[in-house]
């Protein structure tokens, strides 16, 4: 064991943030690494901010960007609000938006870039519609205006099926078959650790409440640039879904990513960074 150089900590630092969202007190776990332009990262349904470990561990990125990821309430190390035991969890568009804006305000972020994946890729569309001027740029990963449920979501939360096992197995195929084995299983492990009913509750937003098909054409990319990146192996939000979304938003920039699936930042961070860096450079150069 090498102790001469001290403990080998990663650069990310995590803290618990106390704030109110729509009048309800919350305890939210926030992790960050780096300095510079704030890059606020939103995790996928049923997972948590660990999905962004590859970004926080990238020196070239953190020299110029302050990479921040928080766990939504009920996810990761964030608590559910007091009284959670008396009802089912369901994520709504209003609650999701309010939580993101509360975190931006609490951290006093000045026009951050917001990057979200899956449900995060959907909510950036809502941010683009309602709060474009509060963000320097918006980046939607695996982003579509709507998604149909393609299996019975009740399988994700019932007493005779292990929730962690079924959630992990359900999403495993959303990872590209070419992903490195360790990153693949790290990504799946986060799903296996989700609380009972949380993944299903997030999918209420993804498959029902968060549908913005009738509004996306109103997005003004002049007010805030919008980038859409989707992995070719994603069958939840397919490349065709994202291309259709981009077709309806004037000025949206779209990239289909090869050999990546639904969790690009987590399943193969190095490959994903190859797609992300030029966009961040473009945003930085715009200097808005």
């Amino acid at each position: 064991m090498n102790t001469e150089s001290g403990p080998r900590f990663e650069p990310a630092v995590g803290r618990y943030l106390n704030l109110e969202v729509a009048g309800t007190p919350h305890r939210i776990y926030v992790e960050e690494a780096g300095q510079g332009i704030a890059l606020l990262c939103l995790h996928t349904a049923g997972s948590d901010g660990r999905q962004y470990r590859g970004l926080m561990n990238d020196d070239a990125l953190t020299q110029r960007f302050r990479v921040i990821a928080f766990d939504l309430p009920w996810h990761g190390k964030s608590s559910p609000p007091a009284g959670w035991q008396t009802g089912a969890y369901r994520l709504t568009s209003d609650a999701y938006l309010a939580t993101i804006l509360a975190v931006v305000d609490a951290l006093r972020l000045d026009r951050p870039i917001c990057l979200g994946c899956s449900i995060g890729g959907r909510i950036v569309l809502h941010l683009a519609l309602a709060h474009a001027r509060r963000f320097r740029a918006l980046i939607g990963l695996e982003s579509a205006a709507h998604a149909d449920a393609y299996y019975d979501l009740d399988w994700l939360h019932r007493p005779d099926v292990h929730g962690g096992e079924v959630c992990g197995a359900m999403v495993s195929g959303l990872i590209a078959p070419t992903a490195p084995v360790a990153e693949r299983w790290e990504t799946i492990w986060h799903y296996m650790q989700g609380g009972p009913g949380v993944f299903k509750g997030d999918l209420y937003f993804y498959t029902a409440d968060g549908d913005v098909r009738d509004r996306v054409a109103e997005i003004d990319t002049g007010a805030c640039p919008l980038y859409l990146l989707t992995g070719e192996y994603d069958y939840s939000c397919t490349p065709a879904d994202t291309l259709e979304l981009a077709r309806r938003i004037k000025g949206a920039k779209v990239v289909i990513m090869e050999k990546l699936g639904h969790f690009p930042m987590s399943e193969e961070p190095a490959r994903f960074l190859g797609y992300l860096r030029p966009l961040l450079q473009e945003i930085e150069d715009a200097g808005r």
Binding site: Y150, G173, T178, Y235
Partner: protein, 125 residues
């Protein structure tokens, strides 16, 4: 290609971690590869037998059916998008799942890994 399922017991029973995770599994399911059908009998996670059809009165708990072309692509070392996973094949309507889905869903990782075993040279499913 149909040999893929004929050879499944030898592949599966050489995977102790797969068998361990299926230790509560007692089920017979039908797998249809185009017009050919197979009954796969599982006892405590071990593949007891694979029976090749045609069957006059097959009894099974659930059935997975896809075309020969879809299974052939699924068993490629790196299948193309949409054919790379059982749930992906369900989403793209290439795979049909019938019957009592409970043992399949409760052991989803088991069945994904079991049916991917003929896909040589790929780590993880």
């Amino acid at each position: 290609m149909r040999d893929a399922l004929d050879g499944l017991p030898a592949l599966a029973n050489a995977e102790p971690w797969l068998i361990d995770r299926g230790r509560f599994l007692e089920v017979t399911f039908l797998c249809a590869v185009g017009p050919a059908s197979y009954l796969i009998h599982i006892h405590r996670g071990r593949l007891e037998a694979v029976e090749k059809g045609p069957f006059v009165q097959p009894r099974w708990t659930f059935a997975l059916s896809a075309s020969e072309a879809a299974w052939r692509e699924f068993w490629q070392p790196v299948p193309r998008p949409g054919c790379h996973d059982l749930i992906a094949m369900l989403k793209t309507r290439q795979l049909r799942l019938e019957g009592d889905q409970h043992p399949f869903m409760a052991n989803l990782r088991y069945f994904k890994e079991l049916l991917a075993l003929p896909r040589a040279g790929v780590a993880g499913v």
